[in-house]
């Protein structure tokens, strides 16, 4: 349920679903996201679901805060049941040339490389949201013992395909970008393809993801 709706500037609604980050609250956000998209409410021109917030942007030339707020409040529970998701497997190579921060993680987590990778590849992830850069999925939740802070000084360039960890989340850099996550490997999969306008993102909010470790050999042959 939306706990509170406020304005974020004059052209957006800020829907607050709570302060915690968990699958249940995020699923509520995604249900609202899907149902608002389906309703095609006049004037709404963007939706940004995140862990526990949904931001609804609108065109101030055709509508306003009050009108959109009324529309959102009218959405009943039954209309927000829809949730579409898929299960994905994403190959990741953890060759030393890709796992840029594994030594840092060994120190910070007090685990050795094998233990870190075992934990990482044995769990299932849930996609909370995508964004920051196009198509980047925010995946959770890493167990308590796998949680490390961001790098003190972010990298200027994180290679495309890098798979990173920060706090309870994992992500994938869909293209080269600055970033501060702890990089443990790299995927040969195209996680974002701007040429596919209908479905540019491989991973979408609500999807579940399992990572599968592959060798450098398999990585190199992957796209051949």
């Amino acid at each position: 349920m939306i706990k509170n709706i406020s304005n974020l500037g004059d052209a957006a609604l800020y829907c607050d679903f709570g302060t915690e980050v968990n699958k249940q609250i995020n699923s509520e956000v995604i249900k609202y996201f899907n149902s608002i998209r389906e309703k095609n409410i006049r004037g709404i021109n963007n939706l940004t679901p995140s862990y526990n917030k949904l931001i609804i942007s609108f065109d101030l030339k055709v509508t306003n805060f009050k009108e959109i707020k009324n529309e959102i409040e009218k959405l009943s529970e039954s209309e927000t049941q829809k949730i579409i998701n898929k299960n994905l497997e994403i190959p990741v190579c953890c060759d030393a040339s890709f796992s840029l921060d594994i030594e840092r993680l060994e120190k910070k987590l007090n685990l050795n490389k094998d233990e870190i990778l075992e934990n990482f590849f044995n769990q299932e992830f849930f996609c909370y949201m995508t964004g920051f850069i196009a198509g980047m999925p925010f995946l959770g939740d890493l167990s308590e013992k796998m949680r490390a802070q961001r790098l003190e000084t972010p990298r200027v360039k994180v290679p495309k395909g890098s798979v990173g960890m920060t706090e309870q989340f994992a992500n994938i850099y869909t293209f080269e970008s600055p970033g501060g996550w702890n990089i443990i490997g790299n995927t040969p999969l195209e996680v974002f393809q701007s040429s596919k306008e209908e479905e540019p993102n491989l991973v979408n909010p609500g999807d579940t993801v399992k990572f599968k470790q592959i060798s450098l050999e398999e990585y190199k042959n992957y796209n051949e």
């Binding site: 940004t48 101030l60 949201m129 980047m136 293209f175 974002f192 701007s194």
Partner: protein
Amino acid sequence: MSNNFFKILRAGVNTTFQDKGRNNLYHIGIPFSGAMDNRNYLLANKLAGNKLDSPVIEFAYQGPLLKFYGDKINIVITGDVVFKLKQQDKEFDGNCYETYQLENEDEINILSTNKSVYGYLAISGTFDLKLQWGSCSINTKANIGSNEGKKLESEQEIKISKLNENINKKKIDYLNSKIENIRIMKGTNFDYFSEKGKKDFLEKEFTVSKLSDRMGMRLEGPKIENIVNTNIKSEGLLKGVIQVPADGNPIIMLSDHGTIGGYPKIAVVASVDYDRLVQISPGSKIKFKEIELSDAETLFKLYEMETQNLLSQI
């Protein structure tokens, strides 16, 4: 395809194709993009005799030097821009908001924006561009849009697929107003900041940093002190949102912003001031002024009426 094209003899600092931008893609991590200064974008298209949502060339600071090859074409520059035209052997200064007819091998040399940032070049015709999600707008950070998502380079050719039939001379008298006071509304994390921090934010002057681009405008001035948490759980961003990271220096999100961010939102710029905000050049001073939502809505309506009124005069 027509045989009309421009050859880029000098590309300029940040020259891209832009239009109205793309909607409904925040959730996959793609911002609106589009022309930074919407009013000047619309005026350029209207003067060139195009549909208002047609692609134009946007440039920042120093613009391109272009040589035209082909039949007759009208061009127009909007913004506060210094430029020259070269026709046969004569060279002369051009005026913004006034169309000029170019013939084969004429040149247009966009020297600089005057105490502003962005300017626009529209042609009486259609650029031959690939659209993505219905928009040509180039987002260089994500390599999305026409020209493979990259800014224009010297030696490139800009192809024109179609010329408009009617190319009457058009002009309008318009003077870009400059502002120093940016009107804002409190953001969702306004109370994360100390009393002094809030007071400084609303009362002190800030300087626009050189590290400003289509993604964001960084400000320097009094450090805004955070007393709650310098991070929030990552959530959506919008153009105009003012974030304050741990170093206390505000950053205003602009049209190519990252779609998700984890810094507290101290305020949001009122839509009415967005076009003029983006034109404030590095080194200039700005101040914020708080207004209520209802005032922001009214002011935007008036601004929009003014824009429509200008367009109807062309």
